[in-house]
């Protein structure tokens, strides 16, 4: 009976076999938790920022782009299921952010204050490029942030193409959030004890 269970498991779900170490498997929920709590924290302080990708950034830096991508994905799924169902679709954006942060970090684009700025712009661009079609499909191009949407309304009121208007709306908001989160991640990573960095590196 049990043997049978294992057999069917192996044959039916091979496609789900991802090579994730146990360290990464525990890092990802922690990163998602940090996203969640950081977002709530920023809301509690009434800051005009989301900070909801901080954990994703750190997971990418500690355990590579795959870990970051999965953190971002699960983050939006959980967030979508519990708080705002529509944000589930933005999981695609979060996956991309995880990958871009991981790649940039590995290439050394998080090594000093100047380079972090370049990284942040690239991340914001990625985020905006992927989010814009989703905004258009779901919200007719809006983002849901009042002053971003005011910009959007002004632009399409002046007959500017909806795609350009929507992209501008999203990018303006993204650039601020992504720059702040990139610098937070940069400072926090520098503060992490070496044993912690080594543990996740050794156990990938």
């Amino acid at each position: 009976m049990k043997e049978n269970g294992i057999d069917t498991k192996a044959s039916r779900f091979n496609m789900w076999k991802l090579h994730l170490s146990v360290a990464t498997v525990t890092l990802i929920p922690a990163a998602v938790g940090i996203n969640y709590v950081a977002k709530a924290f920023a809301e509690g302080l009434k800051l005009p920022l989301w900070l909801g990708s901080l954990g994703t950034y750190l997971a990418s830096m500690l355990a590579g782009p795959t870990a970051g991508a999965i953190s971002g994905f699960i983050n939006n799924i959980i967030y979508g299921l519990t708080l705002s169902p529509v944000s589930t679709v933005y999981s695609i954006t979060s996956i991309a952010i995880g990958i871009v942060v991981g790649v940039l970090f590995n290439r050394g684009w998080f090594s000093n204050v100047k380079r972090v700025f370049v990284s942040a712009i690239l991340i914001a661009l990625t985020s905006a490029i992927i989010s814009t079609p989703l905004n258009v499909i779901f919200w007719g191009g809006q983002t849901g942030i009042p002053w971003g949407d005011a910009l959007f309304a002004t632009m399409i009121g002046n007959h500017i193409n909806i795609w350009i208007a929507s992209f501008t709306d999203e990018f303006v908001l993204d650039i601020m959030d992504k720059v702040v989160v990139a610098y937070l991640a940069f400072f926090i990573y520098r503060q992490l004890p070496q044993r912690m960095i080594n543990y996740f590196k050794d156990n990938q």
Binding site: R190, Q191, L192, P193, Q194, R195
Partner: protein, 267 residues
């Protein structure tokens, strides 16, 4: 001399039945311990004493001024708190900066800060590792560092939450000496502890909490002279008392092995 006075203080959490009620508690002795079982109200009382949480009724007076009226800066100069878990408070890049940060909340002169930081690091024995990342320290070192951040500010009142936990023997000795030194310098030192041996050896006054009420106030010897009370509030007598009663059948009060020796070498 700093005096803390609690009048008709009560506090209850919206989500539980627990209620802390203290009609009258005055702390003027220099070393005061607050003891009691888990859930007796120690942490609630502690949080009220920090001034960061206000009682629902009554007030807490410090030298006749209401604690609730203190400005944040005055509060820092009045009450310093050493929490049980030091890793909840550390965030600076080095041990030295961690201490300097605390002091910079009440002091702006850089030269004064530098001098004071060097002095307190020497007091707790962390001078050699002042450039280390606080998160690379051992648990006792982290705890000493968190104590140093409070020492630097030099408040009138020191609150210690379970100071002996996660310290090794030499650092326990160091922290005990420090607390005694502070008390001699006329600071009010209040500690929550469940270490009865340390309590019996160190403190001059104990307040015992049980079910959110003060059940005893007085010297350790007086408390442990009432075995029924000690049992009723869920405490244990100091180890030396159970050793002596176990082996010698002597159920009198002894606070430490040295106390026993002193009482028995005089005859």
């Amino acid at each position: 001399m700093t005096a803390i006075q609690l009048n008709d203080v009560s506090y209850h959490y919206p989500t539980s039945d627990f209620k802390l009620t203290i009609d009258q508690l005055t702390m003027t002795a220099n070393l005061v311990a607050i003891v009691g079982q888990n859930g007796a109200g120690k942490s609630t009382l502690f949080k009220l004493l920090t001034g960061l949480m206000q009682p629902q009724t009554g007030n807490i007076l410090i030298n006749h001024h209401d604690l609730a009226d203190l400005s944040p800066a005055d509060r820092l100069k009045t009450i310093g708190i050493v929490f049980q878990d030091p890793s909840s408070q550390l965030f600076n890049a080095t041990v030295e900066k961690e201490v300097a940060w605390s002091l910079s909340q009440t002091e702006s002169d850089a030269a004064v800060i530098a001098e004071k930081v060097a002095q307190v690091l020497a007091t707790v024995g962390l001078t050699d590792i002042k450039d280390k990342n606080p998160f690379d320290l051992s648990m006792p070192e982290k705890k000493l560092l968190s104590i140093a951040t409070v020492l630097a500010v030099d408040p009138q009142i020191y609150l210690f939450d379970e100071p002996m936990i996660s310290l090794d023997w030499p650092s326990q000795q160091l922290v005990t000496r420090l607390m005694q030194q502070l008390a001699r310098e006329k600071h009010q030192v209040i500690a929550i502890t469940h270490d009865m041996d340390w309590l019996a050896a160190t403190f001059s006054k104990i307040a015992v909490l049980s079910d959110g009420e003060i059940k005893f106030e007085g010297a350790p010897a007086a408390l442990f002279g009432q075995p029924e009370l000690v049992h009723a509030v869920g405490l244990l007598p100091p180890r030396i008392m159970s050793i002596v009663s176990d082996v010698l059948g002597d159920s009198r009060v002894y606070l430490t092995p040295a106390d026993y020796v002193a009482k028995h070498q005089t005859h």
